[in-house]
């Protein structure tokens, strides 16, 4: 996979790397056993401090998305098709929190927001045809 960082983004660089690995696993671009670049290689490629790469890899390892074998390398530890819940849930929680904040700012009550979520989850037959 190709990594890309943008220093002028509001997310710290290590978070940008974490997000990209999560996305790559979720989308199947990165599969269990695929090798990731070493701290040093990725630091070189992105022209960033290797400690920032380490910070990202440590977080990903904590989520169980990657594992490091000493002297061998760092590998993806999961397949996107498998159980990605634990890692994804963190992101999802942030997204939901943002959604709730957004709803409150708009003055949308709880019940109405929940209705919108239900609607998005399984669109009404009239609007979505026969697909489930």
């Amino acid at each position: 996979m190709l990594f890309r960082v943008n220093p002028s983004d509001s997310a710290p660089i290590y978070r940008q790397i974490v997000r990209q690995v999560r996305d790559a696993v979720a989308s199947g671009k990165l599969r269990r056993g695929d090798k990731l670049p070493s701290h040093r290689e990725l630091a070189r490629e992105l022209v960033i401090n290797h400690l920032t790469v380490k910070q990202a890899y440590d977080a990903l390892e904590g989520e169980g998305l990657i594992r490091t074998e000493r002297g061998v390398g760092t590998f993806a530890a999961r397949d996107g098709s498998g159980n990605l819940r634990a890692a994804g849930l963190t992101d999802l929680r942030v997204a939901v929190r943002e959604l709730v904040v957004h709803a409150r700012l708009l003055g949308v009550p709880r019940a109405e927001l929940l209705r919108l979520v239900r609607e998005a989850w399984s669109p009404e037959p009239a609007s979505a045809g026969r697909e489930r």
């Binding site: 509001s10 997310a11 710290p12 978070r15 701290h39 630091a43 401090n49 920032t52």
Partner: protein, 307 residues
């Protein structure tokens, strides 16, 4: 590193304690206290004249503090010559004699520094495509900075001090210089203290950021924390003036137009609402928007004066 006389986990690479510096009536530094731990890359940012170069020049003993103490690897740089051999320094001006050739300078540094690594210097000069037969005066500004960097790092310093390393360089020259530093960090774990106006470079390299403003250190935090603990908010509050908000909140900047206020707050975006509720003590307000910010926005709001 076993068997060395250096105690493990001892003194920071550089340490400043309550450092002030006056030039005549001008107070360039006012009570600056900061540590650059071993292995840390400390990025110092500040506007022109904030005192960055003054602070950095104290490390290689080019400038005395008026009051306060400066320690380099635990030693007083004015008293301990040995410690200066553990230092690499790139000044903000290109001050090598223009008539000398690059080769003359590397030869001179090889004499001065017992740990000079000729192979490293040769590799870096090759990587940067600099011909050693060239005279300093004939090099471009970017090449002069690059030569300065090679001279500053080729004796494997334990602390590297870079004053505006990318100043006046084009994008390619800047990137090459950064690559050299990134490689060096990864292979040697060198501590670095550098000043830069290039906030993107600071973000790429620095594990810690200090904001210097009018001689005072306003912030000193891990880079990612600085970024994550700030946000911009838009608030509508009819009963509150700009000055009220500035006094009640940890705000870097408050811009008001009638009852609408735009603030930059020192808190996580998701904590903004609770903070406003707490600090505004029951006064009615409406939070219209919350946005995260990047390093440049934080810097500009923090050092752009007001509130």
């Amino acid at each position: 590193m076993t068997g060395t006389t250096q105690p493990m986990g001892a003194a920071p690479a550089a340490s400043f304690r309550d450092v002030t510096r006056r030039f005549g009536r001008v107070e360039a530094l006012r009570g600056v206290t900061l540590d650059v731990p071993l292995g840390c890359v400390f990025g110092l940012v500040g506007r022109n004249g904030a005192g960055k170069s003054t602070l950095l020049r104290m490390v290689p003993a080019l400038l005395h503090p008026t009051t306060g103490t400066v320690r380099v690897l635990g030693e007083d740089p004015w008293k301990d010559d040995a410690v200066r051999r553990d230092l690499g320094y790139l000044s903000d001006s290109d001050d090598h004699p223009p008539r000398l050739r690059v080769r003359d300078l590397t030869d001179l540094f090889a004499e001065l520094y017992p740990r000079w690594d000729e192979a490293l210097a040769a590799r870096l000069l090759d990587q940067l495509e600099i011909d050693r037969a060239r005279r300093i005066g004939s090099l471009s500004k970017g090449q002069k900075r690059q030569v300065g960097l090679v001279l500053a790092v080729s004796h494997h310093p334990r602390l590297l001090v870079l004053d505006e390393p990318a100043g006046g360089l084009d994008a390619v020259a800047r990137r090459r210089l950064l690559e050299v530093v990134v490689d060096l960090l990864a292979s040697e774990g060198t501590a670095v203290l550098f000043a830069s106006h290039q906030l993107a470079d600071v973000e790429r390299l620095a594990t810690r950021v200090g904001i210097l403003h009018r001689g005072r250190l306003l912030a000193d935090r891990p880079t990612h924390e600085l970024k994550e603990n700030a946000c911009r908010v838009a608030v509508r509050a009819s009963g509150l003036e700009r000055a009220d908000l500035a006094a009640l909140l940890p705000a870097l900047r408050v811009a008001s137009e009638d009852a609408r206020h735009r603030l930059t707050l020192l808190c996580r975006p998701e904590a903004a609402k609770a903070l406003l509720e707490e600090r505004l003590g029951g006064r009615a307000f409406q939070l219209e928007d919350v946005q995260p910010v990047n390093l440049e926005e934080i810097f500009v709001d923090w050092t752009g004066e007001e509130p």
